[in-house]
């Protein structure tokens, strides 16, 4: 999937992946896509909840081994 910006949140634990994601989105323009990689198993539900509450669209959420990848489109 194409993306405009990438955030490496691997090794970080709650709530840092979400906070860093929010910070990255702030630096982007509407319609752009952010790719986030994390290792926190809690981030799967957290990113879904973040998208639902902020209106930024979670385009995809996937898991490979112990890494989680999210694509988020800025509102």
């Amino acid at each position: 999937m194409n993306f405009d910006k990438e955030l490496d949140a691997r090794g970080l634990n709650c709530p840092l992946p979400i906070l860093r994601c929010k910070k990255s989105l702030n630096e982007m323009t509407s319609g752009q896509t952010l790719k986030v990689t994390s290792t926190d198993p809690g981030s799967v539900k957290d990113f879904a909840a973040f998208a639902k509450q902020t209106g930024n669209e979670l385009l995809s959420s996937s898991e490979a081994g112990s890494e989680y990848t999210f694509f988020i489109k800025k509102k």
Partner: protein
């Protein structure tokens, strides 16, 4: 119309472990678009001090706290050290040692530090209000605390809390 959600927190505890919930919830709420205020009172004022090195964790009388070592081989890390309260209270520096070990565990797990979370809250414009009555009660000066703190009392808290969607006492 102001339709922004609001979170009001009262932070009353002054230990390293209890400093986490207010700062984690406030910073996350701010990231979700909440307008957030934390009212620091009694021991919670410790979280506003310029120097946060005084925040400690005490395993004494806290049966819920697992005591494990943050270093060494896995079998060693997995040992749960069941140390009697009587020993904990008699050994000088026990609390400081437990705090050092806890800080190492926090680091090993990629968990943010309290100064880091506090800064993230400030960046996200979480409003910090210190209870003026307890500031005086404990003999603090405003200069003991970080910049950007406002000082007020119970009525100040209710002005915001009364309009809040979520209100937590921690």
């Amino acid at each position: 119309m102001d339709d922004q959600k609001k979170l009001a927190i009262i932070a009353t505890k002054g230990t390293l472990d209890w400093a986490y919930p207010p700062f984690i919830l406030a910073s996350t709420a701010a990231a979700l678009g909440y307008e957030t205020q934390i009212f620091f009172t009694f021991y919670g004022l410790q979280m506003l001090r310029k120097d946060l090195s005084g925040l400690k964790v005490s395993p004494l009388g806290n049966p819920g706290m697992p005591m494990k070592m943050p270093f060494g081989p896995k079998w060693f890390k997995d040992i749960s050290w069941n140390i009697p309260n009587a020993v904990q209270s008699l050994v000088p520096g026990y609390e400081s040692l437990a705090t050092v070990l806890m800080k190492q565990t926090i680091k090993n797990n990629g968990v943010a530090t309290i100064p880091e979370l506090r800064e993230l809250c400030q960046e996200a414009e979480v409003k910090f209000i210190a209870c003026q009555m307890t500031v005086e009660l404990f003999g603090f000066e405003h200069s003991d605390f970080i910049d950007g703190v406002e000082y007020g009392g119970a009525a100040t808290f209710f002005e915001f809390a009364g309009e809040s969607d979520i209100c937590l006492f921690i």
